[in-house]
Symmetry: C2
Subunit: 519 residues, 2 copies
C-alpha cells in the first residue's frame, strides 16, 4: 500500500463556535462558517439549508462545540453534517462502487476512516438489461430512464439500510456518500439521459456532477448530507477509473507508474504527479472470463491456479473454495497458458504440440483439438473440462492486445516499459492473476516482480478515500484536468506491434529475459 | 425614479452552445457552462441537477440554442432555468414582499422586466399571532415553527397559482423567486428557529441565506428554479430594508441620500456609493395608524388629506375612495396637525388653542379636549369623528422621535440635513404623506421639495430588481457588507434633541424657514 491510500486528513472537524455577545452578534450560520474557515485551508464554507435549520438549537445544546463533516468541492467547503462534539454516535460515510454487474457498498466511520461494514449485490438493472448498451436503449423508452434509476437507487437504499440495521445505526448517521461508476452507470444513477453517450460523437450529459443532496437522488441518509459522484472524462473514461487512479496514488508519485484495470475493456493509465495519459482498448473477453466452453467468472469451484510440474507434466489445479473444478477463470487461463508454454505443450504461436501433450490432447466432434484439463470423473460437472485451440487463439489475441496497448501508451510518452516504477493491477482480475504467469505469456512486461501491485477494488477504494481524506476531491479534480486521453488508433504501427506480440512471450524474446522454457 | 430602478441587465441570456464533435466531445453540461461563461462576466457557471437532467434532449431539440435564466450569487452564476431559445412561452419570476401583516406578490416577465400581474393577501400567520413576538413564541411550541412556515408558504403558493392561472401560465413558467422580509419573517419563511432573535444578544440563525431550490421551501415553481432570500444584517435590520436600499439606488449615488421607512419602527438609512449608515427607532404608532379612537390604516373611507382654509378655518377632508369618512390614517393626521398649527388652532407645543378652535372643541365624558373633525351626521360611522389632545400629544412624541433619529444619524457622520441630496420615503406611508405637512410639523427637515421622493413599496421593488437586473445580487451583498448599524442610545444628547423637537416645528424655528403660520 502506498502512503496516500491510508486515511490522511479526515472529513470531520471539531470546532468551538464563539459564543455570541452584544459585541459579536452575527448570526449562528456565519459564526459557524467563520469558525470552520479558521480550521480549514482556504475557500469559503457553505452550510446548506438543512444544516442552518438545525443549527441554532444544536449550537446551544452543545455549548457551542460541534463536530462537523465537510467535503471540499469546487473551491469551497461544503458542510454535510453537524453533531454536538460530545455526541458519542458515530458519523459515517458510504462508499459505492457502482458496477455494471455488481454494486459494492462500504460503510466507513468518518472519524477514523475504518470500514464498519461492507456488502455487495448484483446490480438490479441486470434484469432490465445485462449490459450497458441494452440499458441505454431501455432508457430511451418512455419511463425507462426513471425505471433504471429507481431500481439501482432502491437497491442501494435497501442494501444500505440492511448494513445500518446490522450495525445498530440509522440513515441519520450517514452524512457523506461517494459513488464511483463508469460514465453510463453514473448517468443512470443520476437519472441523466445516457442516449448520447453511445452515439457519435459520444457526448455525456455531464462530466463533473455537482455535489448532490440525498433528496436529489433518493439515498436514505441524513438530509444535511451530500453525495459526491466521481466525474468522468468522456463517454469512455469513467469515474470508476478516476477513483482507481486516486486509490493507486500514482497521481502523487514522482516516478511514472502504470495502472491497468481489466474488464471487458482493458483500461490503462500511465503517469505521475505531473502528467497522466490514459487509453482503453478491447483486450478481448478471454482475460476476464470469456474462454469458450469452460470459461467462467471467479466463483466457487472455478480453477484459479494451474501449475504443470516437471518432469512428467503433472497438472496441479487449485479451485476457489477447494471444490471439484467446474470451469476456469481468466487468471487460471493465464496460468495454464504460461505453464503449457514453459512445459513445451504449446509452441511460441500458442499451438498445441501433440508429442508433448500426449493423451491429454483429444479431438471433439467438430475435429477441433482440445486439451483435457480435468477428466469427467474428477470434474464438478460430470463432463471433461477441456480447453480448445480456439480458446488459446483467443487468449493469444487478448494478451497481444494487452501488451500492445501497454507498449503503445508508454512509447507515446517516450518511456520504455522498464522505466515503469510501479505497475498497479486493479480489480478482481488484478488480485487473482499471477504476474509471473502474465509475464511468461508476454501479456505484461518483464519487470521485477516487486513493481507489480494488485490493488483490488480500486473503484471502491477511491470512493472510500473521498470519505476519509479531505484532500481527495481536490486530487480528483486535478486528475480529471490532467488526464490526456489517447485514442488508440488501430493503424499500421499498432498492427505491427500486435503481430509481434502474438508470440509467446514475444517475437523479441530478449524483452522477456526472465522467461525460460524447460530444458 | 432614478435610473438604477429601471431594469438594467436582465436575468435571461440566449446562448448558442457549440455543437459537439469528435474533436470537441466534452459533455453537454460543460459545453453549456462554457458558452454561458463567455457571455457572463467573471465567475464559474453552476447548472444544478434539475437543469442537467433536462439538458441533453432540450439541447438537441432546440438545435443547441437555449434561453437561460441566471442569477449571480456568491462569486458564481447559478442557472435557474433553460428553455429552447425559440420557445414562445415566457420565463417569469416572482417578487415577494413578505410583510408581517401583508404579503405582496408580483409576477414579472424575466425577458423585459415588466410586471405581468400582482396580488396581495393578509399574512395567514396573523391567525396564529398578530405580531412578530407572538409568532416567535408560537414557533417555540412543538410543531409551531412548521405550522407558521407552512401557512405562509401555502398562502404564497395559493396566491401564486391564482396569479398564474389568471394569466394563463403554470408554475413551470416560474424560474426565479426573490423574497424580501424582515429578519423574523424571513426565518419563519425558511423554517429557521427564530427563538434567539428576540433574546439577548439577539442572534439570527443566518444572515445570508443560501440560494434555495423550490423543494427546500415548497414554492410551486419550475424545479430548475432558485429562490433568492434577501440577507439581513442582524435581528433588527432585515432583508426588506436591504431591498429598499437596492430599490432606492442610494448605494450607487455619489451624493448622500437618506431613506426612511416608517412602520411600527422608523427605519433610516443614510449614505452613498461609498458608505451606508443605518439605524432604527421606535417612532411611535401615531405615524402609521395608531392615533387612539379614529386612527386607522389606509383603507376606503379613511381620511388621507386635510386642509384648513383661511379665513374661516373651513376644513376640507379627502377620504380614500371619496367615501363618507370613517377614520384617519397617519398621513391624514400629519396633514391635520400641520394645518391646525399654521391656522393657529394648536400652539407650538401642540396644544389646542380654544379661542381659535371655537365650536369644534368639545370635552368628552372623561373631560378630555376633543376636536370634532366630522360631525356624526356627515361621518360614515354615525358618530362624531374627533381627535383628542392625547392623540396630538402622541403625534408630537412620534414626530419628535422621527426628527431626532434623522438628526442623530446625519450628525453621526458629520453631515447636516441640508447636505442630503435626496430624501426617499418608502412604504404606503411614504406614498401618502405630504412632505409639506411633514415639514410644517417638523417631522422631516425643511429641504427643497424636489429632494423628497416617495418610492412606494421599496421592499417589493427591490425584490423585483433581483429578477430584472443581473447586477442586483452583487449590490445586495455590497450593501450588506457596507452597512454600519448604529445603535440609537437614548442618552442625554438624544433626550436633549428629542425635547427640542417636541415643538412645532422645532425649538429652533430658524431650521424651518419655509414654515409660516397665518397672520
Amino acid at each position: 500500500m502506498t502512503p496516500t491510500r491510508t486515511p490522511a486528513d479526515g472529513c470531520l472537524h471539531n470546532v468551538e463556535v464563539p459564543q455570541p455577545s452584544l459585541e459579536n452578534n452575527t448570526a449562528d450560520a456565519e459564526r459557524l462558517a467563520e469558525a470552520l474557515e479558521k480550521v480549514l485551508d482556504g475557500g469559503p464554507v457553505h452550510l446548506g439549508h438543512a444544516v442552518v435549520r438545525r443549527l441554532p438549537s444544536m449550537l446551544r445544546a452543545a455549548d457551542h462545540r460541534l463536530r462537523c463533516a465537510v467535503i471540499r468541492y469546487g473551491g469551497h467547503w461544503q458542510v454535510c453534517g453537524i453533531r454536538p462534539a460530545d455526541d458519542a454516535a458515530p458519523m459515517t460515510g458510504l462508499a459505492v462502487d457502482l458496477g455494471t454487474t455488481r454494486v459494492v457498498l462500504r460503510l466507513v466511520d468518518l472519524a477514523g476512516g475504518e470500514t464498519l461494514a461492507e456488502t455487495a449485490f448484483d446490480n438490479p438493472q441486470i434484469e432490465i438489461g445485462p449490459d450497458i448498451l441494452t440499458r441505454i436503449h431501455h432508457a430511451e423508452k418512455p419511463g425507462g430512464l426513471e425505471q433504471l434509476q429507481e431500481c439501482v437507487i432502491t437497491g442501494i437504499g435497501n442494501a444500505l439500510e440492511a448494513l445500518l440495521t446490522d450495525s445498530g445505526r440509522s440513515p441519520q448517521d450517514v452524512f457523506l456518500t461517494a459513488v464511483a461508476g463508469n460514465t453510463a452507470m453514473t448517468h443512470l444513477f443520476l437519472g441523466l439521459e445516457p442516449r448520447w453517450i453511445i452515439r457519435e460523437p459520444y457526448i455525456p450529459a455531464v462530466n463533473r456532477p455537482e455535489l448532490l443532496t440525498p433528496r436529489d437522488v433518493g439515498i436514505p441518509m441524513n438530509d444535511m448530507g451530500r453525495i459526491f459522484v466521481f466525474p468522468n472524462i468522456g463517454s469512455y473514461f469513467g469515474g470508476d477509473l478516476i477513483a482507481g487512479i486516486l486509490f493507486s496514488g500514482m497521481d502523487t508519485r514522482e516516478q511514472p507508474a502504470i495502472l491497468v484495470d481489466v474488464g471487458t475493456n482493458a483500461e490503462v493509465v500511465l503517469g505521475n504527479r505531473d502528467w497522466l495519459m490514459a487509453c482503453a482498448g478491447a483486450a478481448g473477453p478471454a482475460l476476464e472470463s470469456g474462454v469458450a466452453g469452460i470459461g467462467m467468472m471467479a466463483a466457487p469451484g472455478v480453477i484459479e491456479r494451474v501449475t504443470i510440474h516437471p518432469p512428467d507434466r503433472r497438472f496441479e489445479l487449485r479451485t476457489i473454495g477447494g471444490l471439484p473444478p467446474v470451469g476456469i477463470c481468466g487468471s487460471g487461463v493465464i496460468d495454464l497458458a504460461a505453464h503449457l508454454f514453459i512445459s513445451g505443450m504449446i509452441d511460441i504461436r500458442g499451438r498445441f504440440v501433440p508429442e508433448k501433450c500426449g493423451d491429454r490432447l483429444v479431438k471433439d466432434e467438430n475435429g477441433i483439438a482440445q486439451l483435457v484439463l480435468v477428466p469427467a470423473e474428477k470434474s464438478g460437472t460430470g463432463r471433461d473440462l477441456t480447453i480448445g485451440q480456439p480458446d488459446l487463439d483467443s487468449l493469444m489475441r487478448s494478451k497481444a492486445a494487452m501488451y500492445t496497448i501497454l507498449e503503445t501508451i508508454t512509447d507515446s510518452v517516450g518511456l520504455s516499459m522498464e522505466e515503469l516504477d510501479k505497475f498497479f493491477v486493479a480489480g478482481t482480475f488484478g488480485s487473482l492473476i499471477d504476474p509471473v504467469s502474465a509475464i511468461r505469456i508476454g501479456m505484461l512486461p518483464d519487470l521485477p516482480l516487486e513493481r507489480y501491485e494488485a490493488i483490488g477494488n480500486s473503484s471502491l477504494g477511491g470512493a472510500t478515500q473521498i470519505l476519509t481524506d479531505c484532500s481527495a476531491t481536490g486530487r480528483v479534480e486535478a486528475i480529471r484536468q490532467r488526464i490526456t486521453y489517447m485514442e488508440l488508433n488501430v493503424n499500421q504501427d499498432f498492427m505491427n506491434r500486435f503481430s509481434a506480440a502474438k508470440f509467446l512471450p514475444h517475437t523479441h524474446p530478449e524483452r522477456f529475459p526472465s522467461v525460460k522454457v524447460w530444458g
